[in-house]
Each structure stands twice: as C-alpha cells, then as structure tokens.
Amino acid sequence: MQNNVLSSLKEHENKLLTIWSQLLLENGSTDGITEEEESKEFTSLLLDALRISNGNNQESEEFEKVHDLLIGISSSRAKRGFSPRENAQYLISFKEAASQILSELERDPVKLYDANLILGSVIDNMTIMTFEAYMKGREDVISRQIDEISEISTPVIRVWDGVVALPIIGTLDSSRTQVVMENLLQQIVDTGSSIAILDISGVPAVDSLVAQHLIKTVSATRLMGAECIISGIRPEIAQTVVHLGIDLTGIITKASLASALQTAFDMLQLTVVKRK
C-alpha cells in the first residue's frame, strides 16, 4: 500500500515540530530546552523512515534507527523522572501533531484514513517499546538492589565472649528471616555462644508477620540452648506492637543494644567496673 501523503510529511517537518512542541508544553510532558535536540532528531529520522518505507515495513533499517533513538530518549526521560504516562504522552502528542498536518494535506477521506491508520500503528508500536524500555530499566535497578541488600543485610557480630549480636536493618520478610535465622544459629554453634541479641533499631515497622518471624527466631535460638534478647525497640514500635495485639511477654526485650548487653552480662554473671 503506497501512501503519498505520509511520505510528504517530511516536507512539513518544521511545522510538525512546532505543533508537537506546543502540544508537549501544553500537557506538561516535556522539560523544554533539554529535549529540543532529541525531539528534532527523532522527528527527522521518523519522517525519513515514513518517506522511505512508508510505514509498511517497521523492521526496515530506517525504522531501526528511529527505535534506537527512541529507546535512548525514553530511558533518559525515565532517569530525569518522567513517569511512564508522560513518556507515552510524548509519542501520543507526536501522533496528534502529525495527524493535524495530514488532515490539512489530504482531502480524500479514504487516503486520509489510511494514512492515519499507518501512523497509528507506527506510534502504537513505539509506545509499547518505550514502556518495555522503561520497565526494563526499572527491573535492572531493582534486581541489583536486591543483590546488594542481601549481601549487606545479615552480619553476625561477636560482641563478647559468649554473646553474639545481629543488627537487622530493613524489612524482615520471609526469605530474609530464613537467612537471618540460619546465620544466627550457625554463629551460635561456631562461637559456642549462649546469648544472642537481635537488634531491630533498623527495622522500620514491626507488623504481625515480622513479629511472627522474630518469635520464631527466638524459639529456634532457645532450642539450641541459648537465650535470645530483642533490642532496639523504639517507643513508637513498642506502642504499635501493643495495639496490634502481639504478645511478646515470653521474650526478653530491651530498648537499646547497650541495655541488652547489660542484661547479657548479668546472665553471664559478669560485672563491668570502672578502674580505680
């Protein structure tokens, strides 16, 4: 299918750019100056592609160039904080601008309809591509963060002969509890410790699932013949846990790591005294 009016869009490149920038400014999906160059290049390449392959072959070399540029644009827009919605708006506005010019150029309704149909399919495909690029960028970041977090998250510290401490930072979800518990139990065995301190100062919220995990960890520690103290319970956490209805009565809890250590000393019948 040959569509001449689409090919002739190239001759109206500047006008298209003007209308497009106008639309982008109106719906707030651009930050203006920084994007002008990119948009210009995009328009030029896309109109070339439309002129040469007429939108019928979107796998052509010309379209490939447009797609590469577009993926670059959308990931840079993603980094500059544009939402996926604004990213889509970018392309939809282009379609609107091109459509306006097409209706001025083509008086034959059938041909105009065809042209819009092809334009629509070209832009829709690109919209999907930008969404995929956006999601992929996000997923990369997320999986890198997950790796980093699980690496730094569970250090077991020997604070005294017979006392190990494990500071928990972040959220204690099911998979993480498993890692924490295994680490802790292993360290108790390796160091022959009889007291473990679980410090939750760095846990933002203790909901019933986190509480259940904490209770489980305490029980497992006791099964190993050691005692477990939970420290770092901030006042707002203590109050919230009470309202939630969680029963921690069987567990030794302390406000700070220092007071947990004091309790551990008492249990080991140690006294810290100031040198005379």
Binding site: I142, I146, G170, T171, D173, S174, P204, A205, V206, D207, S208, L209, A211, Q212, P235, E236, I237, Q239, T240, H243, L244, G245, I246
Partner: protein, 146 residues
C-alpha cells in the same frame, strides 16, 4: 479535587494515587509512599508508624489471600483535621465470615490472625467490604491528630 459526602462530615481529597500490587517486593515501596503522605500532612512519628504498620498488614492480606490487587492512597481533610486514607482492593475469593476474620487470633493462613483486628485498633476509621468470589475492599483513615 473530589468531594465525598458522608452523613457526618465532608471529606475532601487533596492528592491521590493508585499503586498496583502483585508481588512481595511491592510491599516496601508502598509503605514508603504511604509514609510520604503521612509526613506531608504532618503526622507524628507514632501515627506514621501506626499507619504504615496497618498498611503493611492489609497489603500482605491483599497479596496472600486476595492474590494481589491495587491500593489507592489519598491525603484527605475533613475541615478540622488532615489525614491519609488508604484503600486496598482485591478481586480474590472474599471473606466468608467477617465477624470471625475480625477476631484476634483467627487465621486461615497459619499466621498470628492479628492483621484485621489489629489494624482496626491502629487507625481512626476502618471499613471492610467483601463479597464471596468477588473480592475484598478495606479502607482505612488515619488522621494527623487521631
């Protein structure tokens, strides 16, 4: 700006967003977002903690029992106070017996059974609608000074 009229007072929504929840990894970002709303209306640390703990409970239920869904966060005001309203919507199996589900310690999932009743104690307004086979919607509101 949307206005929802209730019998007692007029609640105005100032800011609103919707977040899709499909996996466990969505829980923490949602909680942080809800906290942002709490900070914005000037909530105390205690009320923020209550709000995000309630959010945590309900979003876990939405994932575990409802098979995922969406959460709407709004900052609201009623003329006297500002607050945050969070709505949890799933299209899961629904809850057969709400009275039972609202009891402390009742769980069909081998957990503590404190999510629903505990959440109700943590917030100022709590509303639950459920229909067998059609899903569950829970709405909570925490006022800044509530």
């Amino acid at each position: 700006m949307a206005i929802i009229r209730s019998r007692l007072m007029t609640t105005t929504t100032n800011n609103k967003e919707e977040i899709l929840i499909i996996k466990e990894q969505d829980v923490v970002p949602l909680r942080n977002r809800v906290r942002d709303y709490g900070v914005k209306v000037g909530m105390s640390i205690l009320n923020q903690t209550k709000l995000i703990t309630a959010t945590s409970e309900l979003v876990r239920n939405l994932l575990k029992y409802g098979g995922g869904g969406k959460v709407v966060i709004e900052s609201v005001s009623n003329g006297r106070d500002n607050g945050v309203r969070v709505t949890f919507i799933d299209n899961g199996p629904g809850i057969p017996d709400i009275t039972l589900a609202m009891k402390d310690g009742y769980s069909t999932g081998k957990s503590l059974g404190l999510g629903l009743p505990g959440t109700k104690r943590l917030v100022n307004e709590f509303d639950i609608k459920t229909e067998l086979g059609n899903g569950t919607t829970v709405t909570i509101t925490k006022w800044k000074n509530g």
